[in-house]
Symmetry: C2
Subunit: 628 residues, 2 copies
């Protein structure tokens, strides 16, 4: 049973009025972008969005993503109409302490993912739909898009993947009000062009009048019955409902001054503001799952001295994690035979999602999946995670928990050249709020860290290496987040060499060469780049009077060297020599490129010799002690 | 006059053979991805790519972009056939010191832009086509794409913008060999689907047999006569020409072992390798321009104490720069009324390019434009430049010179909330090879830096502030790259407060408050974050025994604090207190958010008091001296 046309109209008026009231009270915000979609929102809320509003995290609820996040006043007005936000709270919009932020965030439990960086709502919906399908939940994921954001490439990645996977759960509604922030969109009201695009990606699509509530209802009903994703292109007018705002330029992101607001509310009939609707209940109740057949994590193990690439150990550990935990899923950027996620995929095909060469979509899908309690691991070359940096940034704003793995880090990949080398990924990932950044040097370390990642929170990043490295740890050795390993230590270490990943092995070779010259150095594996093991770094600084040396296969900015320097914030700091990649690498063998970059064993040893005053150090002939 | 079908066939055989020979000699690389496109490349090189190969930087040359950069052996084989690379050099592929890198870079003068991160060739072509149109050059921009990269959203941004601007210069050729790295593409050989997509964006499109050289010739001829951009979808077979490679999985990125290579070359008829073709000359000679009517740069000026937002000063300075320099162009991400690039656009409409909400396309277009000697300034909210980080990274690999401006930096934007706040942009931009990172605090500083940017090289980034700040510098004050300004100094400064942008003004307020308590602090404007003014930072450390304090509207990682710490690399460093944004900001007023983040004047003053031991400092009552 549906609401009456009168009910829809009353609700739409109220949504418009509340959008105006809230933004005028706030003194900023986007009333007109809210008003264009008010009829769409009214019909959706009243009769199509099946949800138990008292239980926002009920996974049988339909999901609603306001991809055009600047229309947050409309969303909050919907929440009020659904009786979960009071009128009083509505008027706290954009004020300090309010849950009603300028753009929606999951501080409100009815918001699954933060929006406000355009073009990210639909890609997140792809992840939600895949998760719903995996969980056999009969729900729809409604995405309200602006037409301006249809210029974002990420939208077409979502069109493509949703079409490929036949995600009938997704209903995308484009609020085509023709006007962007600074003027008309490219397409304006030639709306069949949007529909043609959607169809070209395998969607159903139709164009409607976005202010004809009956037409909206019919379109939404048809969409709910579709066997493929549906794009409803709605012709709307920005500021619709108020004559002096409708389809006018110059009103984007402007609240109405008080007098204008009064006029506008009068035009809307001064709605009483007390419309409260009873939205439809969830379509289906998924039976609670039986107790999960959790198995212990049985990681791959490597004998000390055996050679394995950490990217391969990642793939094997991920597969093992999938054996142990049914909530772990994997996403691939069409390089699963390089990152070895294919080993997870072969073992757990239902939980493996090929995202093809669409890194933005891959990350957004992971964000969508974690809404459903899944623990997604998304992997590609580390260099190509830079393609999704905005999505990763927004994942942090979404308070999302996702695991990312980037392979082929650094100049040490060799012949493929700089386009394939991640040399900025540590900087990029460290500068994500609440992130964890890990960089293992061996197979056993990698396997342990993969388990730690699954048990962590926030954005967790694992950097792996293309080439094989020898195992230096025993199987089962623990690698807690925020820890480190002192691998070489003596009572008379002059310098501490701090390294991670590929350069740790260079540091160990340098240690040997230096020992032959009588120079004792400590070697520390800083596998946890963020959080860093500050206590151990401080101990090194205290005990190694010649200073600290960091060697990293990364640009000098933002990586391991900066992480070590931050340990000493607020206090005088010891000398810290920073070996990093300073010139644009070319093609060459890994060994050549490490040496060209000044981060090879030879370069580390030379730098240590300079630190200790040239030539042989004190106490020549003493043996280094291996400490584990 | 065109080459004969026999000539095409001979050339195609040679291109295939050379792709095999070079990769087998290298021991790595992508022969089969090269072979699928060999017929397309042969016909293109022989009869359609109008270029003076002896003058690769001749701007009347057609451009060729190998968007599928991993097929570099094919490109290098084309260069050999065009007589600009010797067979001897061809066989240096992927070796240290060779110009023939694993993926193409502009170390070879016939390569305009680096490729290897997929989906970036076509967006760069949009910039080239716009530049060619601006320069009234009759040329075509040929882009050879892989079908795997058709999953990248950046491709559709380019489809959209090229369609919108009617860029008939662009001819995109999709080498649809059906197989990606790890398996089939989404579309495989249902190639009308690609054509439908291109048409939905306003392109002409056709599907051909990519091994039928006559059909290729006809398609290319038609494309050259089209009045809109054209997409030629070519059905090909990976490894085409060699029976045991054709359309086989498992050969991506694998060179042929010697014996297989011999068999393959035999199947190809053991081409002599001496085919050299004479490509068609440029279509048209653009007359050399007369002497440019260069005018002096007449920047906007602001009286000391006047309030202006640096984003607005940027817009006015850019307009003025456009008055002075005809090579300056501007690109907007549909926020030109926020970044004020619209002021450039109103004055110089022909040199203003609206890229709509497609940040990846905006950056790639800038990269394409600079190939034509233009000096592009691309601007959007700083937060949204993160959307194009891979493109910025690749711009550095391209040795491109582009200017980027990001507005609305930091928590100080206020009510819009964290999705709109750039809090990682300094980290991101510092970790770009050869970058320049600038962060002005006032209008006159901004104007001076805009001019410096235009005269600089590499990736130049300007961070601007949403809110108004008071002018603290005289008009005409110089702001060299790598410089700084000591704004407050006395002979007895206990602490140096290092700031930039919005926090500089907080630092000045803190200075006043501290002076009232008898604590003298130095205040330094580090407007040049990279390169940083190391000498001044060192002087501060030497003269201010209480240490250094950095306050920045940015996450703690990778920003100004890290830049200051790096000054002391290799030496003991002074105490450096780092005030930065550590919790996820919410909505609120700018003043509230600066204070919540711990970077307001109050917080700076409190931190200084803690540094100097609490309470009033030494020499209470002394006056601070303003030094300019």
């Amino acid at each position: 049973m549906t609401h009456s046309t009168d009910a829809w109209e009353g609700l739409a008026r109220q949504l418009r009025a509340d959008s105006i009231r809230a933004t005028t009270a706030a003194g900023s915000g986007h009333p007109t972008s809210s008003m264009s979609a008010a009829d769409l929102a009214a019909v959706l809320l009243a009769d199509h969005l099946h949800a138990d509003w008292a239980n926002p995290h009920d996974l049988d609820n339909d999901r609603l993503i306001l991809s055009k996040g600047h229309a947050s006043p409309l969303l909050y007005a919907m929440f009020k109409a659904a009786r979960v936000v009071s009128d009083e709270e509505l008027l706290t919009l954009r004020k300090r302490g309010s849950r009603l932020e300028g753009h929606p965030t999951p501080r409100l439990p009815w918001v699954d993912v933060a929006t406000g960086s355009l073009g990210q709502g639909l890609p997140a919906a792809v992840g939600m739909a895949l998760a719903a399908r995996l969980g056999e939940r009969d729900l729809r994921v409604w995405v309200l898009l602006g037409d301006g954001e249809m210029a974002e490439g990420s939208i077409y990645e979502a069109f493509e993947l949703a079409g490929y996977y036949g995600l009938r759960q997704i209903i995308a509604v484009i609020d085509a009000n023709r006007l962007g922030q600074r003027g008309p969109t490219m397409v304006q009201w030639e709306l069949e062009r949007y529909a043609d695009r959607a169809r070209a990606f395998g969607w159903n699509a139709l164009v409607i009048d976005g202010h004809d509530r009956g037409a909206i209802h019919r379109a939404f009903s048809d969409a709910e019955a579709s066997d493929r994703p549906v794009c409803v292109v709605a012709r709307t007018r920005k500021g619709a409902g108020v004559s002096f705002l409708e389809d006018k330029e110059g009103w984007h992101g402007r609240p109405l001054p008080e007098a204008d607001a009064r006029r506008a509310l009068a035009e809307l009939g001064n709605p009483a503001g007390d419309v409260r609707i009873t939205p439809p209940a969830p379509r289906h109740r998924t039976p609670a799952p039986g107790p999960a057949a959790a198995a212990p994590f049985s990681p791959p193990t490597y004998a000390v001295g055996a050679e394995v690439a950490t990217r391969e150990a990642f793939g094997d550990a991920l597969r093992a994690l999938g054996d142990a935990r049914p909530d772990v899923v994997a996403l691939d950027g069409e390089v699963g035979n390089s990152t070895y996620t294919e080993r997870f995929g072969k073992k757990h095909p239902a939980r493996f999602f090929e995202m093809f060469i669409a890194e933005q979509q891959m990350v957004s899908a992971a964000v969508g999946m974690q809404v459903f309690g899944l623990v997604p691991f998304a992997a590609t070359f580390a260099a190509f995670l830079s393609r999704a940096y905005d999505q990763i940034r927004m994942a942090a704003v979404s308070r999302a928990g996702i695991c990312l793995s980037g392979s082929h880090a650094g100049a040490s990949i060799g012949e493929d050249g700089p386009s394939q080398m991640a040399l900025e990924d540590l900087a990029m990932m460290r500068a994500v709020h609440g992130s964890t950044v890990l960089y293992p040097s061996s197979g056993n370390c990698t396997a342990a860290l993969v388990k730690e990642m699954a048990e962590g929170s926030g954005i967790r990043y694992l950097r792996t290496t293309r080439g094989k490295t020898p195992e230096i740890y025993q199987p089962g050795e623990p690698f807690p987040l925020g820890g480190s390993k002192v691998i070489r230590r003596s009572g008379r270490d002059q310098v501490a060499v701090l390294a991670a990943g590929i350069t740790l092995h260079e540091a160990l070779s340098a240690h040997e060469a230096l020992a032959r010259s009588g120079i004792a150095v400590r070697v520390v594996d800083l596998y946890s780049v963020k959080p860093i093991d500050a206590a151990t770094v401080e101990t090194c600084a205290r005990e190694c009077q010649g200073g600290l040396l960091v060697a990293e296969d990364h640009w000098p900015e933002g990586g391991l060297g900066d992480a070590v320097a931050e340990v000493f914030a607020g206090r005088p700091a010891p000398a810290l020599v920073r070996l990093a990649v300073r010139d644009m690498p070319h093609s060459g063998t890994p060994a050549e490129l490490l040496d060209d970059a000044g981060i090879s064993a030879r370069c580390i040893a030379d730098a240590v010799r300079r630190m200790v005053g040239g030539g042989a150090g004190r106490g020549a002939g003493a043996e280094a002690v291996t400490v584990r």
